[in-house]
Symmetry: C2
Subunit: 246 residues, 2 copies
DNA sequence: GCATATTTGTCCGTATGTATA
DNA sequence: CTATACATACGGACAAATATG
């Protein structure tokens, strides 16, 4: 566990190849941000599961950073809603309720539908959507289910990008990060994402045809379906855990 | 405070002494949080104007807190997007660009229009909108322009509340907080808010009549108008300041 | 219920690197 | 080039709350 957490961080230089591009855009990163990056990756990949307590001492000594720096990283992730802070008890990986899932999809429908409806004015944005669809189809051929899920995320990020608003992009990123906390409760992530691959292609075709309202109708339907599917699986999964907590 | 607003491009007389008076108010919550409260109030009321650098020694010695604690407060306000951190230069009161204003209104139109379109199902939400309209009309009668501005904020917060989503509420709150940084550059805030008072009433009437699309059309029109007005005034005001910065 | 150790909350001083005058 | 001011990060001290036996 200690090594798994420590992993990167100690020597950013040699792993910098993949991260260098991101870093160039964001400018230099502080230690707290790098710590947050490591923890965020561990959380989104499911290594730290929802409900897990992140003790200052353990994480701090594993990563070799001081408490102050670590707490700053905690604050960043708390602001992203990936962690929750309980007074004098520490920070925990966020556990979403069913209400959270419903609200997340409510916001997604609001944002994504509005973005796709007003599309057509931006060939640049449509191209990013097409790239995400192609990425998903390649992942499908390679039977790489994790990449399939990532591609699906990119698709919806690209859909939101059609709004042409930095703040909407940022919001969408936060929404998807939160949803990743839920995706881990799905028994079979492959089937979940697989089902929407053809749907994404259909939506893209409508966008390319300049049929914004048509694309919106399809998207709304798929989002409703995904929400239902997710709420079902999630309610089942958590009913047992919640009973075991008291 | 009033002197600082009335004061022109010169440094206000004694910001340190003014802050020292706030020291008595520092009561029982966390020191960093209390410092953040004081600074937040000073920023939103326009005492610290956008672009002002918050010098560490001045603020720290005025409030009697250590640099480390002050930094903690700065972090809190940076997370709220009221301050910006410039690398190794310090913290500044956020200065929005014209692009920011445009993007803020882009998001507002997306959110508020979608929320008002799907209204009608919530008599509870409509009631909050009505309360905000009434609040504005009372402020108008009392010729209390500050309260008029606040009521206008509440109106749009209530409009967003029609979506029935906690995350949309929070987003709207952040959007309006950012916009407050812009409102201070308006030469005549009274006239700016006054113009939309009757508009708010019109929108409310449409909502009560169950005419979501009609309310949306009105709202979109008013938001476009406000954006244009604000961008004009803002571009004028900042062109001079930006020239004076170098 | 009580006394314990552990963990977190808060705040400080300092050392080092960096940007600006 | 030097001096100043600041950001960053660290380690530690002490209080307060929680968990444990």
């Amino acid at each position: 566990m200690t090594e798994a957490v420590a992993g990167h961080l100690r020597q950013p230089p040699d792993q910098g190849a993949a991260l260098a591009a991101d870093r160039a855009l964001l400018g230099r990163t502080s230690t707290a941000e790098r710590v947050a990056d490591v923890l965020r990756a561990r959380i989104t990949e499911g290594f730290f599961r929802p409900g897990t307590r992140l003790a200052e001492d353990m994480i701090g000594s594993s990563l070799g950073v001081s408490r102050n720096t670590l707490r700053e990283a905690f604050r960043l992730l708390t602001h992203e809603r990936l962690l929750v802070h309980e007074l004098n008890r520490g920070v925990f990986v966020r556990m979403l309720t069913v209400d959270d899932v419903v609200d997340l999809y409510r916001v997604r429908k609001l944002i994504e539908c509005a973005a796709v409806r007003g599309a057509g004015s931006s060939p640049d944005g449509a191209q990013r959507v097409a790239a995400a669809v192609a990425e998903g189809e390649r992942a499908m051929e390679d039977r790489d289910w994790q990449r399939l899920g990532t591609a699906n995320m990119h698709f919806h990020q690209a859909i939101a990008g059609l709004a042409g608003s930095p703040r909407v992009d940022e919001l969408m990123q936060a929404i998807l990060a939160e949803l990743r906390l839920v995706f881990h409760v799905m028994a079979d992530p492959r089937r979940f994402h697989e089902r929407y691959l053809t749907g994404n292609r259909e939506i893209l075709d409508r966008i390319d045809a300049g049929d914004g309202p048509g694309a919106e109708r399809l998207l709304a339907g798929y989002l409703d379906e995904a929400e239902r599917q997710l709420v079902d699986a999630y309610a089942q999964r958590t009913s047992g855990e919640q009973a075991a907590r008291h």
